[in-house]
Amino acid sequence: MDDKMKILLCEDDENLGMLLREYLQAKGYVAELCADGDAGLRPSSRQSSISACST
């Protein structure tokens, strides 16, 4: 399994978003943070994205 899985993160809360991204990066994933669903839907160099959404 490709260790560098790309994760698209949509989280409107800044603090939590940044924290999650750092955590995921520390865990070895490439995480990309978007502020909301719209920004996340815009195609931005996707390769094998797995989305993680927040509540």
């Binding site: 409107d12 939590l16 520390a26 865990k27 070895g28």
Partner: protein
């Protein structure tokens, strides 16, 4: 009259007939000769003719008597008043009207001819009249007028039994309408409450997740524990727990609404100082948007006697709103002004934010009210802030009003009683 060709016509004349019908022969003895048949038939014809004419004249005379002779007599003599009274009584009884009545008889031009013996003028507003001798030419016509002194009470008494029913129906209707109104209001309250609970759950969960995530990261060995990382995590825990506390306090403030008597710990404060302090705590956030806070202190008497905690909360709320509801991509400018007016101390907070639509402006101070923006939850809030602010200001004998223009900005103006310096 009989003409020669046998036609009979009648004419009108007054004369008395000497020939009485009895004198007309009823039978004839015929002689048996040729001419007697025709003669007999002729005389029979003659007899019939005479009879007819006599009867016609009789009828004419009777009619003539009725038409002319009768009306020559004055009204008084033509009517038997006792009979009239009795007839009226009987007729009314037949129709089920047995209340006392008074009547009088008049000529067509209003001259009174007769009135009943116990006549009284009571109830004369509703007089019924009827012509007597309808066939008379109109100047000679008589009129009988009847009125009932107790008419209104009679009519009323027959309706009276219905009044409790009507009253009851009206009461029922009012109760029904009231109930429906209450039901709709309750429904609205329930909706609001559910919205509030959902919103609050979401709002509270977020800082809790942040803190637990930071804690998890601290425990996880995979995360490098560099000093920057540690500092970062520490900041997050700090910030989020502050946020959590702030939110919980806000909700606790709500309990104030239900408690009737709130104990204030009032002390003397200087409004100018207070505003400047709070403004400085917001300056970072305002400058972050590219804007600036402008404070114009023009009040000379600025001492107020207020509960520090609550009052600070209220002002913080107002400024917080200004920052929250700013125009998303544009710098926010805040103008804070204090001045004295007519023995009172006034201050205003003006922002260059989104503004509020005119129809919403008067509703914003309502508990739980938030301007409806559909499903866009870009601004986090419970809808409690302004209701709390208004309550605090009012309890301090002040008042607050809001002016806004959609797209331009909002201004909140507060006026408070000023504490007079007693030296």
């Amino acid at each position: 009259m009989a003409a020669d060709d046998g036609t009979v016509y009648s004419s009108f004349e007054l004369k008395t007939f000497a020939i009485k019908p009895a004198n007309v022969p009823k039978a004839m003895i015929l002689r048996t000769d040729k001419n007697s048949i025709s003669e007999a038939s002729k005389s029979l014809q003659e007899i019939v003719r005479n009879r007819y004419v006599y009867q016609k004249a009789l009828l004419d005379e009777v009619v003539y008597n009725i038409l002319y002779t009768a009306s020559d007599k004055p009204l008084k003599e033509r009517i038997n008043f006792k009979l009239l009274d009795r007839d009226i009584k009987v007729e009314l009884m037949n129709n089920g009207i047995n209340i006392p009545y008074h009547f009088r008889v008049e000529t067509a031009d209003g001259r009174e001819v007769y009135r009943c013996p116990d006549y009284s003028e009571e109830g004369e507003e509703y007089t019924y009249k009827k012509e007597l001798f309808r066939n008379d030419p109109s100047p000679k016509m008589g009129v009988v007028k009847i009125h009932f002194p107790n008419m209104s009470s009679y009519i009323f008494s027959s309706v009276r039994f219905m009044i409790p029913a009507v009253v009851f129906t009206v009461v029922l209707l009012i109760t029904f309408i009231f109930t429906i109104y209450i039901i709709f209001r309750q429904k609205r309250y329930t909706e609001i409450k559910n919205d509030f609970i959902n919103n609050m759950t979401h709002e509270l969960k977020t800082p809790i997740s942040s803190i637990s995530l930071a804690a998890q990261m601290l425990n996880d060995d995979a995360v490098p524990k560099s000093p920057t990382m540690l500092k970062h995590l520490g900041t997050v825990v700090n910030d989020e727990s502050k946020r959590l506390r702030f939110l919980v306090e806000k909700v606790l403030q709500m309990s104030m609404f239900d408690k009737q008597s709130v104990s204030f710990k009032k002390k003397e404060l200087d409004l100018n100082e207070l505003l400047e302090n709070i403004a400085s705590t917001f300056s970072l956030r305002v400058e972050h948007t590219g804007g600036h806070i402008y404070t114009e202190i023009e009040a000379v008497d600025s001492a107020i006697y207020v509960d520090e905690v609550h009052f600070q909360n209220a002002i913080t709320n107002l400024m917080d709103n200004a920052v929250k509801y700013r125009k998303p991509d544009q710098p926010l400018d805040l103008y804070i002004r204090t001045w004295n007016e007519k023995e009172r101390l006034c201050f205003s907070i003006r922002d260059t934010g989104q503004g509020i639509k005119k129809e919403n402006v008067k509703k914003i101070f309502e508990k739980f009210y938030r301007v409806h923006t559909g499903n866009v939850h870009d601004v986090k809030g419970f809808g409690l802030g302004l209701a709390y602010v208004k309550k605090i200001i009012t309890l301090h004998e002040g008042d607050i009003k809001c002016e806004s223009e959609l797209g331009k900005g909002t201004t909140f103006t507060v006026s408070l009683p000023v504490l007079k310096e007693t030296s």
